[in-house]
């Protein structure tokens, strides 16, 4: 199994990850090698087996809906790369 350049670019676009030419080249080889190693799972019969998302058997964990103080907006905005007043500032989404 060999990932093509187009497949690598498609994946990168899905997660909005910029890649250099060198990275595109390297990842198509490395990811292909890793994926080849996953072929081993085809040997396992998993008919009727439920998928396991996590290992602890807890479902629908509820708590009382008590109001408690939240974070100070200044603390949350402290790490904002760009802000305006009490808001995160972002670039135009729709042009």
């Amino acid at each position: 199994m060999k990932l093509t350049r187009e497949e690598v670019l498609h994946l990168a676009r899905l997660v909005r990850l910029g890649l250099s030419e060198e990275e595109i080249e390297k990842f198509s080889v490395q990811l292909s090698n890793i994926l080849d190693n996953f072929e081993i799972l085809k040997q396992v019969d998993t008919t009727d087996l439920p998928p396991m998302a996590q290992s602890i058997n807890l479902q629908n964990v509820f708590r009382e809906d008590n109001a408690t103080p939240s974070y100070d907006p200044e603390e949350i905005l402290f790490n904002a790369p760009q802000r305006e007043g009490g808001y995160f500032k972002i670039r135009a989404v729709l042009e």
């Binding site: 909005r16 990842f27 990811l31 439920p50 670039r91």
Partner: protein, 488 residues
């Protein structure tokens, strides 16, 4: 007690001296800070040192102790892995992405240590976002193995393990997604415990693979490990995956007697490519366990172990690709500013902010989750995960615990595996099945070959940390490997 310096104390030794008032927390903290200054040039275990706030906390601890505070962690200096949030102290995950990130809150484990008057010395180096097995994936610098500076300390909690091996702090916290506490503990001759999934709160731990991550102690001996677990374990309303079960006093289980203890040695963990010296050390360790009264069965078998590596490297990157989507340069972290185009800004932010292994895993996870491949990779891996978990459940009807090597080899050389991701992944082959099944496991010192440490892993039933701590304690008392220290 022969001591060259206060930094060499364990938690139990230091805590006794503090409560007798023959030692102050300020003296102990200053001793650790001096030790850090003395060895950091060679080891590079720390990303941030909090000298002033540590000394402030030490003074406060001394006041509390003189007012009757008798918690065993009061006044004891600790180092925290840099993916565990510390309010007001930068938390970088050893990534350019979070190089200047200052969390607005403490992780629950940090809050619990602070409420016990712990002294936080600083933050330790790691593989970027905890992805790696050598700490070479740190965006800042690699950490060195104190037993041989040309070798890796293991990873991803390599900074925490190397720091404890060199007595830069009295204990440390790490995190473990596929072996990231145990493998470096084994490589550095210290004790490292990954608790059962759900035993310790993950609130404030920067997410890598949310169904596998756990925080745990890295300590100088097994008693300290139990003491730290006492402090950090338990239900947390801020993490709904923490179990509502009561927390026992883990120090009470520590008795040096293994009579009637049934131990299985799963043959699949003695893998192809395992170094003969590691196998020999484990053979000797198992003999010691038998002499301590344990019933050993060397024919235990977990045949689906051979699929664990593939399952792990589908599930962990899949979860990572979803978790790391938040680093878009908008809310916090590195942000590319030299464009007005939103998509370009996002792509460049990740391209510049993330290192090669993080990008590789994001790509891998995205592939496994993408349309057309989801069933063949992600769903298939989740089903095999069920098989692996079921197999452990069956085996644990026959045994109280399982014993394996922590890693198939001794610490490898810096640079040796960094360009070969598959070789790097193989160093976690003995530890990652445990995260897949959500079990507790501890790595303890089990001998040396050519001056390099070998770790033994003890795996327990879900929420039965008591049994593995007891086995570890009995072995430690009988062997004393943990008392060997690197010459630095």
């Amino acid at each position: 007690m022969v001591m060259n310096g206060l930094h060499q104390l364990t938690i139990s030794q230091a805590s006794r001296l503090l409560r007798q008032r023959s030692l102050s927390s300020v003296e102990l903290t200053e001793a650790c800070l001096r030790r850090i200054e003395q060895v950091e040039d060679k080891i590079h275990a720390c990303v941030t040192i909090c000298r002033d706030s540590a000394l402030e906390q030490a003074k406060e601890a001394d006041r509390a102790i003189s007012n009757g505070e008798d918690d065993p962690l009061a006044g004891i200096p600790v180092l925290i892995k840099d993916n565990i949030s510390t309010k007001g102290v930068r938390t970088t995950c050893s990534s350019k992405m979070l190089e200047n990130f200052i969390p607005p809150y403490d992780a629950t484990v940090v809050a619990r240590l602070k409420s016990r008057k712990a002294v936080i010395l600083g933050k330790t180096n790691m593989d970027e976002f905890a992805m790696g097995s050598s700490t070479e994936n740190s965006a800042f610098f690699p950490t060195k193995n104190p037993w041989d500076l040309e070798r890796v300390p293991g990873g991803s909690s390599g900074g925490s393990a190397a720091a404890i091996a060199t007595d830069e702090a009295i204990y440390a916290l790490g995190s473990d997604t596929g072996g990231s506490i145990r493998q470096p503990a084994g490589f550095c001759n210290v004790v490292g415990l990954k608790p059962t999934y759900g035993r310790v709160s993950r609130f404030g731990l920067v997410a890598f693979a949310s169904s596998l991550d756990q925080i745990g102690p890295i300590t100088k001996d097994v008693t300290d490990c139990a003491t730290v677990l006492n402090a950090i374990a338990g239900n947390d309303p801020k993490d709904s995956t923490t179990a509502p079960y009561p927390v026992p006093d883990y120090t009470r289980t520590l008795i040096p007697d293994l009579k009637k203890m049934r131990l299985g040695i799963p043959k699949e963990y003695f893998v192809e490519g395992m170094q003969p010296e590691v196998k020999a050390a484990l053979g000797a360790a198992i003999k010691t366990l038998e002499e301590l009264g344990a019933e050993i069965d060397i024919n235990a078998s977990l045949p689906h172990t051979r699929y664990a590596l593939a399952v792990y490297y589908i599930i962990a990157p899949s979860e990572a690709s979803a978790n790391l989507a938040r680093y878009d340069g908008v809310k916090y972290g590195y942000s590319y500013q030299q464009t007005e185009n939103m998509w370009e800004a996002m792509e460049k932010t990740k391209q510049i902010g993330f290192g090669p292994e993080v990008k590789r895993r994001i790509m891998l996870g995205t592939y496994a989750l993408s349309a057309g491949y989801y069933d063949a990779y992600y769903l298939k891996a989740q089903k095999v995960r069920t098989l692996i978990r079921n197999e452990f459940e069956q085996v644990f009807q026959k045994y109280d615990a399982l014993v394996t090597p922590t890693s198939p080899t001794v610490p490898f050389k810096l640079g040796e595996r960094i360009d070969d991701p598959l070789q790097m992944y193989l160093s976690d082959v003995c530890t990652l099945p445990i995260n897949i099944a959500g079990l507790p496991a501890i790595s303890i010192p089990a001998g040396f070959t050519n001056g390099l440490p070998i770790g033994m892993q003890i795996i327990g039933k879900p929420f039965d940390e008591e049994t593995i701590l007891r086995i570890a304690f009995a072995y430690e008392q009988a062997t004393q490997w943990h008392k060997s220290k690197p010459q630095i």
